[in-house]
Symmetry: C2
Subunit: 216 residues, 2 copies
Amino acid sequence: MRIGVLGTGMVGQALASRLVETGHDVVMGSRDAANEKAAAWLATQPERAGTGTFADAAAHGEVVLNATGGAVTLDVLRLAGADNLAGKVLIDVSNPMKPDSGFPPKLDPVGDDSLAERIQREFPTARVVKTLNTMNCDVMADPSLLPGEHDVFMAGEDAAAKETVRSLLRGFGWPDALIRDLGGITAARGLEMYLIFWIGLRVSLGHNAFNIHVVT
Amino acid sequence: MRIGVLGTGMVGQALASRLVETGHDVVMGSRDAANEKAAAWLATQPERAGTGTFADAAAHGEVVLNATGGAVTLDVLRLAGADNLAGKVLIDVSNPMKPDSGFPPKLDPVGDDSLAERIQREFPTARVVKTLNTMNCDVMADPSLLPGEHDVFMAGEDAAAKETVRSLLRGFGWPDALIRDLGGITAARGLEMYLIFWIGLRVSLGHNAFNIHVVT
């Protein structure tokens, strides 16, 4: 599948690499087509990977994956261009953490809205799916890093888009039964607020190599 | 141990019953000492259990457990009386859900404060511990209802108070290794925001007999 990954940080690099590894044709997008982190990433990838602007990456993708920081996500998607997102599956793995907001960090929005909903409202024909934001990026990309069963969640309005996401996640190694669909896009509120709980666990454990399993 | 349980709802009843069952001397408190739900509860309990006003229950307890709805908690604690809470372990299991706030429900406070912190600020000599609010009350009281390992969390400023809570939780059947201390009282923000994630799971699963296990 052709996938545009927006963002050159740890999350973008981990997911873009794993997407290439699992057979996809990936363009990593950044603000500047000459971005050094993107170039360094590309040097480690096979020929079918590429880099470009946010708009290049979004135009390339049948699926577009937002791996930018939540505070800049809407600006990045505007640079990617509404035309390049129209009708596409738009995977949002970001967390809307306010920069320099102290400890524990603050979210914006929080409570009666979510970043995923803001994205869906501003790009109404994009088929937004929130997923993967509830864990460290190494675990996102390769769930076999942790022992036993643990789970990934998703939320979004478009059932076919969620099936596409499910298929990509299965490619990463997520068992179908542990990919939990929490419903429509408003369920992204809980997935984003979960970050603050995750940070409590992160501090308590002293590392970020963890996830949760829903026990029934 | 002498324990005052504030609240006669499902959570208060489940926890008060389990505390009696695990050997404690419990008074269930309500707004009106003649509360019918409290009287019905008492009729099912051995002689060492009792009922009374919020102030009676708080005066009785070496430990006071708040099992009232988050929207009324501060009013209830004022009725219980600052003098009756001074120096005591105050276990807060409530969630600050705004009544009639739609779906998903809203929290108040949310983001830069928590109900547990509000309680701690208003009753500074009480030793507040947030715990158990991340699951259904049947699972709170008896973790063996679910198979295998699953976890309970706590947050608070007072290490000795958290040891007391740990001991009560062990009495309910929680294994020591699965009682996870997330740190100071600000960690209650994540525990309270987790409710909205929990509601997503609740809807997705179609029942509330679940919890999570942290996998490392």
